[in-house]
């Protein structure tokens, strides 16, 4: 039988896959950065889902602590990526990574 925690975990896996697709398929940097965040949310959802230990028991607190740490890391990553993208846009006028011409 499919219960809420399995549903959450599957939704997390789907989000992870959507994020991977966005990071690979879209050339625009903002879409790639958003894709990275969606991927992160997917991982965190699976993490929260596995902390479920049944209706009578309290949820496992360890994944919550890890997810909070993960959110901090994801915020730092987004900040760094946005700063680099802004700088790249200021210098080249484009928010895409130029095609690799082996140079």
């Amino acid at each position: 039988m499919i219960n809420a925690s399995v549903l959450y975990a599957l939704a997390g896996v789907v989000l992870f896959g959507m994020g991977v697709y966005a990071m690979i398929a879209y050339p625009h940097l903002l879409r790639k950065i958003l894709g990275m965040n969606v991927m992160g949310v997917g991982v965190f959802m699976v993490f929260i889902a596995i902390s479920y230990q049944g209706p009578e028991q309290r949820a496992d607190p360890v994944p919550h602590a890890l997810v909070i740490t993960g959110i901090v890391v994801a915020v730092c990553a987004t900040g760094l990526a946005l700063a680099l993208a802004t700088q790249l846009h200021a210098l080249t006028g484009s928010a895409r990574i130029p095609a690799d011409g082996e140079e």
Binding site: K32, V46, I50
Partner: protein
């Protein structure tokens, strides 16, 4: 207390981290702070190393919490070898960077930007030490990201559009890789309920959760280690960064993610050692070696050639995976891989540093413009030649000892195809190293007409010192074998 290695483990992270924070706050004192910070970091690392070698593996429970709830720092033979390698190569690059970034060829705005090198480099040093000391798969994720952020910021330091694009690609690939790794960690926790590597090692069985975790972790870390065919981001990033940063990225940062891969496979994922996964990694390693070497031979610019050589040499790290995992206590194979990391880190750092000195002095890094430089700037050229000896693995050199161990292990287990690949990789390395050395050593009549910038002593000294070290490593094989045996969790079957 002071004679317990566990006391020094957190200090090996705190020393460079404190220095990095002080360097952010007091950029004008960077000269003094870097000397004190580097000395303090090296001192703590060497005390920890000596005490681990003398008393065996150490474990520090941060804040007294202890696993499974707290995060433990652990140090065994493999850890202290990586810490010591980082300290030695890091010290040489610190010395080099003092000469490089203050050189008069850089204009005032560039020098202001380059001042950011110092806090970022000490932040990277702290992150690397934390990575090597982590005994917990989630903490490894955090340190992996810290290393990646510092490395990306250091890459972007050069400021040109090409390098910013390379840094951006490096960051995105790094994030993709580490989120794959994190998803793998989720599966490990979901399947086994602990995060400490030693604790996981005691409870893992070959379940579907472990297989899913192994796939996610391996893909993520292969991306971060630039294993073929996920290597595309490495050459532009390593070739376009400034010389000290290229050396750091190639010598140390790549080793960080490979170290996690090695630790996790040996300590946690070993029940899958008999599956196809290690053979797949071996095949990709062989492909990396052949493809990277071919690309290196085709390059016309010195730094791109050295960067593609890194793509090739990463292949060697993966060639012995089936040997490492089929018999978990194959210390000869492990010694081959670890000696290779030591040899590659010293030789490749020296190659990038001397290439950087040549580029700084001549303003050019095309292979065609290297003609006759031996007569003008013998120190960097000699350093590059000695580093080349180790990269080709001629005796006596660190690279030779590493390949000796590797060939010994492969032939003893009957993997003669792998042995052939190892030999072929050496021959191809000889070709691309010779493409650099041949013009460098050519006698040229019109030397006086060529003006080159002065290369400071600190730069020559560090490039040359690392090259000498790459050669001297040939006498350390036995000690590496002995140190690796300390507290190696894969030697005893129980894992604890």
């Amino acid at each position: 207390m002071f004679f317990d290695a566990a006391f020094w483990l957190p200090l090996a992270i705190m020393a460079p981290l404190t220095t990095a924070l002080l360097l952010f706050l007091l950029p004008r004192r960077s000269g003094l702070l870097t000397v004190i910070g580097a000395a303090a970091t090296i001192a703590t690392v060497f005390l920890a190393t000596l005490l681990v070698i003398q008393n065996g593996a150490a474990r520090h429970t941060l804040g007294g919490w202890g696993a499974p709830l707290g995060i433990d720092l652990t140090a065994d033979g493999l850890t202290v070898l990586m810490l010591a390698l980082t300290a030695i190569v890091g010290a040489a690059i610190t010395l080099y960077a003092h000469g490089y970034f203050t050189h008069p060829v850089h204009d005032a705005t560039a020098r202001t930007r380059y001042a950011n090198f110092w806090p970022l480099w000490f932040f990277l040093w702290a992150a690397l030490n934390a990575l090597f000391l982590s005994g917990d798969v989630f903490n490894l994720y955090v340190t992996l990201e810290l290393v990646s952020f510092a490395a990306v910021a250091l890459t972007a330091l050069a400021g040109k559009p090409a390098v910013l694009a390379a840094a951006m690609r490096y960051l995105l690939v790094g994030l993709l890789g580490s989120l794959f790794y994190l998803m793998g960690v989720v599966f490990l926790y979901g399947g086994f309920g602990v995060l400490d590597i030693a604790a996981l090692g005691a409870v893992v069985t070959a379940t579907p959760a472990l297989a899913a975790a192994a796939a996610l972790i391996t893909v993520g870390l292969a991306m971060k280690t630039a294993l073929f065919p996920l290597h595309f981001w490495l050459p532009p990033a390593h070739a376009n960064a400034t010389a000290p940063v290229s050396a750091l990225l190639s010598a140390l940062v790549i080793k960080g993610s490979f170290y996690i891969l090695l630790r996790v496979w040996l300590g946690v994922l070993y029940p899958l050692g008999e599956t196809i996964a290690p053979y797949l990694l071996m095949a990709l390693g062989a492909a990396a070696l052949l493809w990277g070497s071919l690309q290196a031979i085709r390059q016309t610019r010195l730094k791109l050639l050295v960067a593609y050589s890194t793509v090739a040499q990463i292949g060697y790290l993966f060639l012995l995976m089936p040997l490492l995992l089929a018999e978990r206590n194959n210390l000869v194979a492990l010694a081959g891989v670890v000696c290779f990391m030591l040899a590659h880190a010293t030789a490749k750092a020296s190659a990038f540093l001397s290439a950087g000195a040549i580029q700084l002095a001549t303003g050019d890094d095309r292979l065609a413009s290297l003609r006759g430089l031996m007569q003008i700037m013998p120190a960097p050229v000699a350093a590059f030649a000695m580093a080349g000896v180790s990269l080709v693995a001629l005796p006596p050199s660190g690279g030779f000892v590493a390949k000796w161990f590797m060939l010994d292990a492969t032939l003893a287990s009957g993997y003669w195809v792998v042995a052939l690949v190892i030999v072929a990789g050496g021959l191809m390395a000889a070709v691309y190293i010779m493409r650099v050395l041949a013009p460098l050593f050519r006698q040229v009549e019109t030397v006086e007409a060529r003006r080159v910038e002065h290369v400071p002593l600190s730069m020559n000294l560090s490039a040359f010192g690392l090259a000498v070290l790459a050669i001297l490593l040939s006498f350390t094989g036995v000690y590496v074998l002995e140190i690796l045996a300390i507290g190696a969790p894969w030697v005893t079957e129980a894992g604890l």
